[in-house]
Symmetry: C3
Subunit: 141 residues, 3 copies
């Protein structure tokens, strides 16, 4: 049994941009030795989230953004913005509801994702950000 | 320390049917030897989700479906549907927001769930599906 | 490799009160010996949720509650309430959508949280509750 910590960064434009992390996570796994266990993909920060989706343009560029806009509208009233004189209250709310962490079983060196199921970062902030992704793997070599 | 991989399938009708997985997960644990650690319950695919709820008919057959219909209406506009000529844009959005993974502490052979807290699959797709559930356990015998 | 189980309780007022658990979780880690691995924070019960947020009054006392009220209104129709003659249908729906579990990578004794990213309990129930939090740590000393 072992623990392997991998990290990588992604550049995002914010505004609920959806970024495919699957290749990045798989590269981390290929650079390690654990074959069976758990893979936790985590984004540091309170305005971004990790989940899975089918990474295709309709969902990624329109449909998910529309749902998030419905849940926490960009031009809604946020006391966070009144307090801190910023504009990302909706970003915090969206990220909090989805959450910053995803755990995936690793079986014989492969994550049990579907063909059309990609690991994604949703960056809900209102500006470009560089995001630090931690891929923590616990299991057997 | 060890890793144990269990799998089982469930048949769903889709349309945000909520299916109780607790018995299936407990049967996996009973068939293994790990007594303390983490249990990750994961559904492969991008139109289904895993979470916990009180598995009682009101919540399961009406209230959760009504909330999901509010968040991502079945008859909303989805570019995913326009692109692929299908009808499950809302299914993808709902599954993405809830997420496909749940991790539960295992203590002395039992998951720390409440009496009225069941592990559930929510199948958001628009047709019957057979869903592959992976139960990955990492811990001590 | 080892597994360490910690538990603590928090008192909440319900009504989607957001409670900062970061200090409590860090105290658990300080009382254990695992330095690298995974930390799973789990709330037992079906009307509360665990996630991360920036713990500041605007988000915590207004913005998150407003979003949850939008997603599952307190005065909406819930068959759960009609069946059980209670008033917490919205509590169950909110908790189910967010989920009861959060997994965070632990690296060199520290969780990879951001400075403004706290682990929080959102207690969606309609009354005061004492909540049991399990902090399960799997990894290397």
């Amino acid at each position: 049994m072992a623990v392997e910590t991998h990290r990588f960064e992604v550049s995002s434009k914010g505004n609920s941009q959806v970024i495919n992390l699957s290749d990045g996570v798989e590269a981390c796994l290929a650079g390690g030795n654990i074959q069976n266990g758990l893979v936790c993909v985590f984004v540091t920060g309170s305005t971004a989230a990790i989940t899975t989706t089918e990474y295709e343009p309709g969902l990624v560029n329109h449909d998910l953004k529309a749902a998030l806009e419905h849940i926490a509208p960009e031009d809604g009233r946020y006391v966070h913005e009144e307090t801190w004189h910023d504009d990302n209250g909706h970003s915090h709310v969206r990220a909090t509801l989805i959450g910053p962490s995803l755990t995936v079983p690793l079986v014989d060196g492969r994550m049990v994702l579907g063909t059309w199921q990609q690991i994604v970062l949703i960056d809900c902030d209102t500006r470009s950000r560089t995001r630090a992704i931690t891929v923590q793997v616990v299991g057997e070599k």
